[in-house]
């Protein structure tokens, strides 16, 4: 049974399929495994942070720090691998615990000091990037056999597309994210929090624990995205991924999650990511847009998607009213 609540998700999936078909009809080479593989590989880090962002936004919050955390993670890894003999796996564990703690700290501040997430994570954004600068302003290359090994893990599809490890990590993240959101008590608490913190509290939702976990999750996933990004570029660079938080937010919103919190889908975010990737691919295939027209077109397409979604949702919910009533006693 298709539930009315799943409508935004459906709309997103449909939008993506239609858009992909349209692009394909214009540039047939877009319908290759290369492009599909690129969509997965190139957006892997963005997808991973967007999963965390989905949780944050469903809970009614926002996390502006993720872009900086990715950059920090990259620089941290690069510096650690350059200056110590730590194995990358150990370094991964170290950096993940750092970013989880960072997220948890922001969550704790948001809850215990009763401050808006927007501002707390904005300060977090300054801090994480500032720390990355302090570690190194230079971009630091990562050269380690283990990195080479991880990068060599890919499956080359007919047609030249390479499905890489990072893409798989993203898909796994989405899968786990979906299960967490819909099938665990934690996930239910996240939705409850987004429905109204005061009410959720009266209903017995542990606010402190949930808030802290949400931001810890987002921080941890930003750390994971940072690891993936460092695999992607084999380097750590303090100026990397500026503004990624806005891309992630846009993807989450295009995916049908409401910024006011309470409703949304992790799976929708996945298609949001694909739609954003598709827009970029299309612009490059076109190749005639100047720098400024690129910006205008991206903004315009963003607007078009939001409008399309709005329209479809309106059209389909206008007549929706439950038919059941009190059963005759």
């Amino acid at each position: 049974m298709i539930r009315s609540t799943h409508l935004p998700l459906l709309v997103t999936v449909l939008t993506f399929l239609v858009a992909f078909a349209l692009c394909g009809s214009q540039y047939p080479s877009m319908l290759t495994t290369r492009v599909v593989a690129n969509l997965l590989t190139d957006n892997a880090f963005l997808g991973i942070v967007a999963v965390g962002m989905t949780f944050v936004i469903i809970s009614g919050g926002i996390d502006l720090s993720v872009g900086s955390v990715i950059a920090f993670t990259g620089v941290f890894l690069a510096v650690v691998l350059r200056d110590t003999s730590l194995h990358p796996l150990a370094a991964f564990a170290l950096v993940l615990s750092l970013t989880v703690a960072f997220g948890a700290a922001m969550g704790a501040i948001i809850h215990y000091l009763d401050m808006p997430a927007f501002i707390v994570t904005l300060a977090g954004m300054f801090l994480a990037r500032g720390l990355a600068y302090v570690l190194s302003t230079d971009s630091v290359p990562i050269t380690h056999e283990f990195y080479d090994f991880l990068q060599s893990l890919y499956w080359k599809a007919p047609g030249g597309g390479r499905f890489r490890l990072t893409g798989v990590i993203m898909l796994l993240t989405f899968l786990i994210g979906m299960i967490m959101a819909h099938r665990t008590r934690f996930g239910q608490n996240v939705y409850a929090l987004g429905g109204g913190a005061q009410t959720a509290k009266l209903m017995g939702v542990p606010l402190a624990q949930t808030t802290i976990r949400i931001y810890a999750l987002s921080g941890g996933l930003a750390g994971l995205a940072g690891i993936v990004f460092s695999l992607y570029t084999s380097a750590g660079y303090s100026l990397a991924t500026v503004g990624v938080e806005l891309d992630a937010i846009a993807a989450v919103v295009i995916g049908g999650t409401l910024l006011t919190g309470g409703t949304g889908f992790v799976a929708g975010t996945f298609f949001g990511i694909l739609i954003m990737g598709l827009i970029q691919t299309y612009i490059v295939f076109d190749g005639t847009l100047s720098s400024w027209w690129t910006k205008i077109v991206i903004g315009g397409l963003l607007f078009a998607f939001i409008l399309l979604q709005k329209g479809l949702t309106w059209a389909t919910t206008a007549r929706r009213k439950p038919l059941t009533d009190f059963a005759a006693p």
Binding site: S29, R34, D42, Y232, G277, D286, G287, S291, T294
Partner: protein, 293 residues
């Protein structure tokens, strides 16, 4: 068909480079696919991958940062698409790209340092420095080069150094605070990592009631039209040119390679030409002002 992955349009110089590249491509009858990365490396990698998927004949890449290109360049190599680097090289094995047309950023800084050393001729001089965006490679290299240039002159000393983000307005703001923190009379020279910041700083100096170019010597890098205008009226002293025409040599090399397999050198260095007040700056301004800076 050639794909061109440009960093963005963050400065006038960058816009000029884009314009010139498009002109050069047109001149040679090349169909240029342009992709603007909005200052993000990830977007550049995406663009490169899309170019490969599209099957372009060659790729021009102006990399935003030196690291992180191995993987995608390997894919290009495998697809037998030659890659030419513009204005910056990358930290990748040399066989992954055909050639790099760049200036030497460290050298630029050194030229500036040397010029100042000559200009001061042994007199004591406290220098303030306007850095580029923290972490960007021009900022790092131009700082390094300048320090090298003045390292052998004990009379030259950098007393304050702060970032002006390569922008005119930050250049002005930071210069204002330099002037107050050190006192205008105690500053003898300004070194700015690009001309835009220098232009902003000139205004700050004037507003503080000092004469830029005389009370405070000004040397900067890029040679954009507005700095020549300032030099023409004696408000700035020297600039080092960074040519926006990187694509010309690159495309020449590419054509030669395609024609008879001439393998170009790995590094084609553009000239870092020093302009001073001795040049006819008004004329240079007129020459440059329509180049899309």
């Amino acid at each position: 068909t050639i794909g061109f992955s440009q960093i963005g349009s963050e400065s006038g110089w960058r816009a000029a480079e884009t314009t010139v590249t498009k002109q050069e491509a047109e001149k040679r009858g090349i169909d240029l696919k342009f992709a603007d990365a909005q200052q993000k490396q990830e977007n550049q990698i995406k663009a490169l991958r899309s170019f490969i998927a599209q099957g372009v004949d060659a790729i021009l890449l102006a990399p935003v940062v030196a690291t992180g290109w191995d993987e995608v360049l390997e894919e290009a190599k495998e697809a037998e698409i030659p890659v030419m680097l513009l204005d910056r090289t990358v930290d990748a094995p040399e066989d992954l790209y055909m050639t790099a047309v760049t200036s030497d950023l460290v050298h630029e800084g050194k030229v500036a340092g040397d010029w100042l050393q000559d200009e001061m001729a042994g007199a004591d001089c406290s220098i303030v420095e306007l850095q580029g965006t923290t972490g960007s490679s021009p900022a790092i290299d131009r700082k390094k080069g300048f320090e090298e240039g003045i390292s052998d002159a004990s009379n030259l000393k950098i007393i304050r150094s702060q970032t002006g983000d390569f922008t005119r307005s930050q250049g002005k703001v930071v210069m204002e605070s330099f002037l107050k923190a050190e006192g205008g009379a105690n500053i003898c020279a300004l070194y700015a990592h690009n001309d835009d910041m220098a232009v902003g700083a000139i205004q700050a100096i004037k507003e503080a009631g000092l004469k830029p170019g005389e009370d405070i010597k000004i040397v900067s890098i890029d040679s954009v039209p507005d700095i020549h205008l300032a030099m023409a009226s004696g408000e700035a002293n020297a600039t080092i040119e960074l040519t926006p025409n990187m694509a010309g040599p690159a495309l020449d090399a590419l054509e030669a390679y395609l024609a008879d397999g001439t393998v170009p050198p790995k590094w084609i260095q553009t000239e870092s030409k020093l302009y001073t007040l001795k040049d006819d700056n008004q004329a240079i301004y007129e020459l440059k002002k329509d180049l899309g800076y």
